[in-house]
């Protein structure tokens, strides 16, 4: 141990540290400054940025002792008491934080910039923040906030930090207004607590031994040496699981610890709890496992071969999914043109910047408490309870803030493991994954092979669409069947086609499992079908916009699955808005240089809101009025950055005539919040938004009834506005209303269980979904004909999301979704070779940075869903869906190379250009 003497946020500080510690560790673990986050531990993501003597550095690989004598600034040092720094203020009011995990690093990087450059241009910001990533991709709001804050500092005058937003419907009292997130101040000050920010006295640190082979029989596990290591408190294997050995959201096929076989390289074989993370790591190396390697199944087409090795004893086919409509022979016979093309999409990683972390402890009542950032708290609870062999009520899931999810925090990660280790040791146990472990372990987006065969008449009418899909579901089911069902039902695009046939084979392989990921299979099929639509348009000599216009979903359309669309189909409007804007922009486009070609490409998409397919889709929320006149909304629905926390607060405020600021929200606690169901399928605004709204309305009705009796007035004479209940000339503050309830011995609260409209399973006709969101997007790209380099210059988009509840949060989701789609098209590819993950560090898996984020022109279409809250439907997923094909179509239009796989590969693109074979 050495004494490190330095200045931290202006205060002289001395702290004992080990020689090998990094600055980030010292700040977080020894000084309790957990505002500095660690996203990758490899100097890639930049979110651990702090200032050392005014210079931004990544603290995760900055040796702590190097800071001797230096002045270090962290996010905690920015605000003066309650008064936020202008950057923090601008980030809050400008909607920059979403999940918030990157925000401390982003703000510190920005501070380093504006301290030396008081008036930064867009370019200056792109250069300075190039390596400080935001997976929610709020890059345009971040840029705006930095410039707005810089202006405030320069001019010494409060600025309006709200960025320009697309036009939306006239607001109600609260709904439709651009409020900051309720958790925004916590997120910009570093006070926001994510799982790894919690610590308990006596807490042990756990690590997981993962498989050595992607497919092998386990012959023997010997943990004796690991157990004997001083500081080790427990080493557990599958034999130590008292209850069910498996978990799984749909099919329980995923061993919590490998039993007799490992099926992918991330399979957990044993878990260790020790005094320190280092000791736990050392113990892993002492566990002896004998394997018999087995042949590896590395792709879904191979998995479907009759002689393929078996990943699952029951066979490699997870599910054959079928869509049937009309008569294919007739459909293709009617066609004047038939096209058939096959596309491939790779696996993708969510790359949420907060790696998975769970903490288990035994609470004062002897129950298990798990602190975790999970998208489905109640299912975590039952999955943990099943493996422990206890009843659900013996487990409490207490949600921490979540540093991004995107579908990747639906399955179990360390929750069961910390419960088991806590049970055995009686001590609190933290299981934190590093980035490497996160990358190899958690379920990915399905890699797919998709063949689209389309028939059309010369006038562009689609007569038949046949698709064959293979989905790589990896080693375990996860949500694979559901994801590939969505890929399949959406595989003919948002078009009315009389004759449709789709067959999908969701296959087990020895790759990391594939599960939920924003877009849920539809990104992949949209890339395929929207590429084919452009190819068809060219073949027919019809404008691609016109071809889509002719066939697209409208009210009255019968979908591929036999659902008649009765309302809220805003796709036509989206298409018109985008195509008109693109035409306008084409005129303004500067021609590129002689070796570069610029062009636009367009695509459309649709995505269901809600679970659909006959699954019961419900959510509960509770609303309680407090003696201080504030209201709390409670639901277990998860806030993963998407903005639900604001949506439910706004709904309650609207219904109770209160100020948004007077509504607090408690989420994701299975003891204190009613079940909001999974945060998936763009469903939470719809279902939990409705639940909160109805709970608030129920409370309002109760207040009306009470006051109506008290003041002898009919309920309709009671009004709620400006935080007051007005009755017969009296204006009662809500605090007084709460007291009236108390006096009467009643609780001023209401719970509402909202059931979404009933849906039908695939294959039975009728409404498979209760709402669809729609989008049209266009991208302008520039292709360098000498090098094959491709840049996305700008994008235009229109999204039909029913109703803009909060235009600021909505735009954050739209831009973030589009930039993620851009990442899938341009920068990201999760590579697995014979079951071995190549992209096992963030340096090999590049998510888009601020320099990739193009200017986006966004239009909002509000074609209301009658059952949605205030007409709203989902937005989380639709924004990523058309982006891939829009970019790919633009690349074709620019240089004539048709991409059949993603991401865009400049190497093969250039070779295609040079060889004249225009297929990439």
């Amino acid at each position: 141990m050495k004494t490190l003497s330095f200045t931290v946020n202006g205060a002289a500080t001395q702290v004992e540290v080990e020689d090998h510690e990094y600055l980030a560790e010292v700040l977080r673990n020894r000084l309790g400054l957990t505002g500095t986050k660690i996203g990758c531990n490899e100097a890639e993501c930049g979110i651990c940025t702090v200032l050392v003597n005014g210079t931004p550095v990544v603290s995760c690989i900055y040796p702590a002792l190097r800071a001797e004598g230096a002045s270090v600034e962290t996010i905690e040092g920015l605000a003066e008491g309650e008064k936020l720094h202008p950057l923090q203020e601008a980030f809050v009011e400008g909607g920059a934080p979403q999940c918030g995990y990157c925000i401390p690093g982003v703000i510190m990087t920005a501070k380093g910039l504006i301290d030396t450059n008081p008036d930064p241009t867009d370019h200056d910001i792109k250069v300075a923040l190039k390596d400080t990533l935001c997976r929610c991709a709020g890059y345009s709001f971040i840029t705006h906030a930095i410039q707005s804050a810089a202006k405030q500092i320069r001019e010494g005058e409060k600025q309006n930090h709200l960025p320009a937003l697309p036009e939306t419907l006239a607001p109600l009292n609260v709904i439709g207004r651009p409020f900051p997130r309720p958790d925004a101040v916590l997120k910009v000050t570093g006070k926001a607590l994510y799982s790894d920010d919690f610590n308990f006295p006596g807490m042990l640190h756990a690590r997981t031994l993962r498989a050595k082979y992607p497919h092998a029989r386990i012959l023997k596990i010997d943990t004796a040496k690991a157990k004997a290591l001083p500081g080790v408190h427990a080493v557990l294997t599958a034999d130590d699981i008292p209850g069910e050995k498996n978990h799984g959201l749909v099919i329980q096929d995923w061993p919590a610890l490998a039993v007799d076989k490992v099926r992918y390289i991330g399979d957990p074989v044993a878990i260790v709890a020790a005094d320190t993370r280092e000791i736990a790591s050392a113990a892993l190396a002492l566990i002896e496992v004998e394997y018999e390697p087995l042949p590896v199944v590395s792709d879904p087409v191979q998995a479907h071969q009759p002689d393929a090795p078996l990943v699952m004893e029951s066979g490699n086919l997870l599910k054959h999914i079928k869509v049937r409509k009309g008569d294919m022979d007739q459909g293709f016979a009617e066609a004047d043109v038939i096209l058939e093309e096959t596309f491939h999409t790779p696996a993708y990683d969510h790359a949420f910047l907060e790696p998975e972390c769970s903490i288990g402890r035994i609470d004062e009542d002897g129950r298990f408490e798990i602190i975790v950032g999970s998208q489905i708290p109640y299912q975590d609870r039952s999955q943990v309870a099943r493996c422990l062999g206890v009843s659900d009520d013996q487990v409490r899931i207490k949600g921490a803030l979540i540093g991004g999810g995107f579908g990747g925090k639906e399955d179990i990660a360390g929750q069961i493991h910390v419960a088991l280790l806590t049970k055995v040791t009686g001590r609190p146990v933290k299981m934190l994954y590093d980035r490497h472990e996160s990358l190899i372990f958690h379920p990915k987006r399905h890699a797919t092979q998709i063949t689209v065969k389309v028939g059309a008449k010369t006038d562009g009418t689609l007569t038949a669409v046949e698709t064959i899909l293979y989905g790589d579901s990896g080693a375990y089911a996860s949500l694979g069947e559901k994801v590939m069902t969505r890929a399949t039902t959406h595989s003919a695009g948002p078009y009315e086609v009389q004759n449709v046939k789709a067959d999908c084979y969701a296959m087990y392989t020895n790759n990391p499992p594939a599960g939920a990921f924003r877009g849920f299979g539809v990104l992949q099929s949209a890339f395929a079908v929207e590429s084919v639509m452009d190819m068809l348009a060219e073949r027919l000599g019809i404008d691609p916009v016109e071809l889509r216009r002719k066939n697209l979903h409208r009210v009255g359309t019968v979908t591929n699955t036999g659902q008649t669309l009765r309302e809220s189909v805003g796709l036509g409007r989206c298409l018109e808005l985008v195509s008109a804007e693109v035409e306008k922009r084409k005129e303004a486009t500067q021609p590129a240089s002689k070796n570069k070609r610029r062009a636009w490409g367009l695509a459309v998409g649709y995505k269901n809101t809600g679970l659909g397919g006959g699954a019961p889709d419900k959510s509960s929320a509770e609303v309680e009025l407090y003696h201080d006149g504030t209201v709390q909304v409670r639901t277990s629905a998860a806030e993963i950055g998407q903005g639900l926390v604001g949506v439910v607060a706004m709904a309650a405020a609207e219904e109770l005539g209160m100020k948004y600021e007077d509504v607090r929200v408690l989420l994701s606690d299975t003891d204190l919040t009613p079940d909001g169901g999974p945060t998936t399928a763009s469903r939470q605004t719809f279902v939990t938004g409705n639940a909160a709204r109805m709970a608030a309305r129920t409370l309002r009705n109760a207040i009306e009834a009470t006051l109506s009796e008290l003041y002898d007035q009919p309920p309709q004479n009671i009004r709620f506005e400006e935080g007051l209940a007005r009755v017969n000339g009296h204006s009662l503050p809500m605090s007084e209303v709460a007291q009236i309830f108390k006096r009467e011995g009643r609780e001023p609260k209401a719970t509402y269980e909202y059931w979404a409209p009933k849906t039908q399973p695939l294959g039975t006709g009728g409404d498979m979904h209760f709402a669809f969101s729609y989008a049209a997007q266009a991208a302008e790209v520039e292709v360098d004909l000498d090098t094959g380099e491709v840049k996305v210059l700008q994008m235009v988009a229109a999204h039909d999301i029913g109703r803009a509840i909060n235009p600021l949060a909505l735009q954050g989701q739209i831009e973030g979704g589009m930039v993620m789609g851009l990442g899938h098209a341009m920068t990201e590819e999760f590579i697995v070779e014979d079951g071995i993950v190549f992209t096992d560090v963030l340096a090999r898996y590049k998510m888009p940075s601020i320099k990739h984020a193009p200017p986006i022109t966004s239009f909002i279409v509000e074609d209301a869903a009658s059952t949605g809250p205030y007409g709203a439907k989902g937005v989380g997923e639709i924004a990523s869906i058309p982006t891939l094909a829009a970019i790919s179509n633009a690349v074709y239009n620019a240089c004539g190379v048709r991409l059949h796989k993603l991401p865009v590969d400049q190497d093969s693109l250039l070779r295609a250009l040079k060889s004249g074979n225009r297929t990439g």
Binding site: E42, Y62, K130, A282, D784, D786, K846, K851, L910, R911
Partner: protein
């Protein structure tokens, strides 16, 4: 196991060499750490008993012009290099190459010495140093000696330095005189490969409208940074025109050993890139040489 057990922060070069000697092969020099620490963390380099942090040694943190040379301390950060007016004017390609390495946080700590010691044949800073015919001063138990940059490269990621006994202390190169100019260009891909597909550093001396001399450094085009000697000879004595570029590219290809790197680039693609890279760098260097006007390109845009 910790990656290192002991941390030393000497304030002189001699102390640093002594520190290394003390651990007899079990200690390494630590500069910015943005390569070494990650290599150790990811298991590509073994943990050590000690790291010797040289960032406190003032002697190796200066950029100065003396005795007809520009001297750059090995501990100078990439950020300091890109901000140097002297280097911008008189060692332009070095500024351009250091300006595209990593992101700003990495450039704020990563050093030129570390870039060279890491010995990647496509190291951006390295290619410019080769094009500028720089030398490195290496300190060791036997004292200090100047060595040509290319002599420090044994193979990809393999340095001729003895990492556990020696350190680079300074670089020296001749500043651009009248009629001289340089430029650096590279091609990256946006997917997960931190290393360039191909980089090119060029120095030219134009006298009376004719190219008196050039140095063209390319990487990765072999196990070490490549000097395109045939292309340099081809250009000598010629009046530069862009029409020469295809022929120059042919000459470069004659020397280059381009290969396929999985997930990074095919040899075929790299072959195609020679001409566009030359077209970006060579005329720019010639223009700088003839006009004396220098505006570095691409700083921070890597």
């Amino acid at each position: 196991m910790p990656l290192w057990e002991h941390y030393h922060r000497p304030s002189t070069v001699d102390q640093a060499i002594d520190n290394l000697a003390h651990y007899a092969g079990r200690a390494r020099i630590l500069a910015g750490g943005t390569d070494l620490l990650l290599e150790m963390q990811q298991g590509r380099t073994s943990p050590v008993a000690a790291v010797v942090d040289i960032t406190q040694i003032q002697e190796i943190r200066a950029i100065e012009e003396a005795d007809g040379y520009i001297l750059i301390g090995a501990g100078v950060t990439h950020t300091a290099i890109t901000h140097s007016a002297l280097l911008t004017q008189k060692a332009t390609s070095l500024v351009e190459s250091c300006g595209v390495i990593g992101g700003p946080q990495v450039r704020n700590v990563a050093t030129l010495g570390g870039n060279v010691a890491h010995a990647l044949p496509a190291g951006d800073g390295t290619l410019s140093l080769v094009a500028l015919a720089a030398e490195a001063e290496v300190a060791g138990p036997q004292g200090r000696a100047w060595r040509p940059i290319d002599s420090l490269y044994v193979g990809p990621g393999k340095s001729a330095l003895n990492h556990t006994a020696e350190m680079i202390t300074r670089f020296r190169l001749k500043p651009h005189a009248a009629g001289e100019g340089s430029a650096f260009k590279r091609i990256m891909r946006p997917q997960g490969v931190a290393l360039p597909i191909l980089g090119l550093g060029v120095w030219v001396n134009v006298v009376d409208g004719l190219i008196a001399a050039t140095r063209i450094a390319l990487g990765p085009a072999g196990p070490r940074p490549l000097r395109a000697a045939q292309a340099e000879a081809f250009l000598a004595g010629k009046a530069f025109s862009t029409e020469l570029l295809p022929a120059v590219a042919e000459q470069v290809l004659a020397d280059a050993k381009l290969r396929t790197s999985p997930h990074r680039a095919t040899a075929e693609y790299r072959t195609e890139l020679i001409l566009p890279l030359l077209a970006r760098a060579l005329p720019l260097a010639v223009r700088r040489a003839t006009t004396g006007h220098v505006t570095p390109e691409g700083i921070g845009e890597g």
